[in-house]
Chain length 153, copies 2
């Protein structure tokens, strides 16, 4: 798919750097950044193995950091930038946190919960739906994941 | 609905105590316990407000504690006992953690993701499905929630 017709926003560049760092640490290379009014409030990269934590996906780590920084369990008015379409766990957390906008680099046909599978934000039960913008950096984010798994197969 | 024809298992009694403690602390009264071979590995109660953490549902807190205790990001062979049917975030985390059996006290028509809404464990994408046993303590768990919200409306 063609690249979007604008320079990649700085928070997504940072999320891609975090994804790369996760891969270098032996974790699935996914990164996430939470911003408010353009400033970074929290960052995350996958840390499942390093932290012995089944919930330590990049989005969860970034949202927990941002909420701690804000001193609020809701991230009202905040945006999240993530290198892969969120899974059901992370999509649910994004809704609980009242994130305003979700940006992701590439969709995930195997595990994504936004534009496939349970399509969580379209469920009638869903209490808060962010605006969603996908496909911001498909080539770069999918190359990171492909290279990571190629070495391990 | 009639009570199940057996005494309430000890981990669910403990989860109900944790739910009650959460309510007394001003949090939505939900509790959870992770066990392995009958022993408690991790406990949790809702802590969103106390911890400024949008992800701090009882199940997430209990699974993070259990995984830290085990030193493993997967809770293979572990069971989780929770007082309310898990939401999409927690159901996703239960799957990621490879929990063997999910027991819950009462279903949640508004926010549950197991037997309603996205029915996450029936999605073709779902990589790990625990055995599920619901309705273990409907009267007690729903009274806790009803009393909590009655005071606040």
């Amino acid at each position: 798919m063609a690249a979007p017709p604008f320079p990649l926003p700085a928070p997504m560049r940072r999320a891609l750097d975090l994804a790369r760092a996760a891969g270098e640490a032996g974790e699935v290379p996914i990164g996430a950044v939470v911003t408010k009014d353009g400033a970074i409030l929290g960052e995350g990269q996958n840390r499942n193995r390093r932290d012995n934590d089944p919930t330590a996906h990049a989005e969860i780590v970034a949202m927990r950091a941002a909420a701690a920084a804000l001193g609020d369990f809701r991230l009202t008015g905040c945006d999240i930038w993530v290198t892969l379409e969120p899974c059901p766990m992370c999509a649910g957390a994004i809704s609980h946190a009242r994130i305003a906008r979700l940006y992701y680099a590439v969709s995930d046909p195997k595990g994504g919960a936004i534009e496939q599978g349970p399509r969580l934000f379209t469920q009638p039960q869903c209490l808060h739906r962010p605006e969603v913008y996908g496909g911001l950096a498909e080539a770069e984010a999918s190359a990171l994941l492909r290279d990571f798994f190629a070495v391990r197969r």
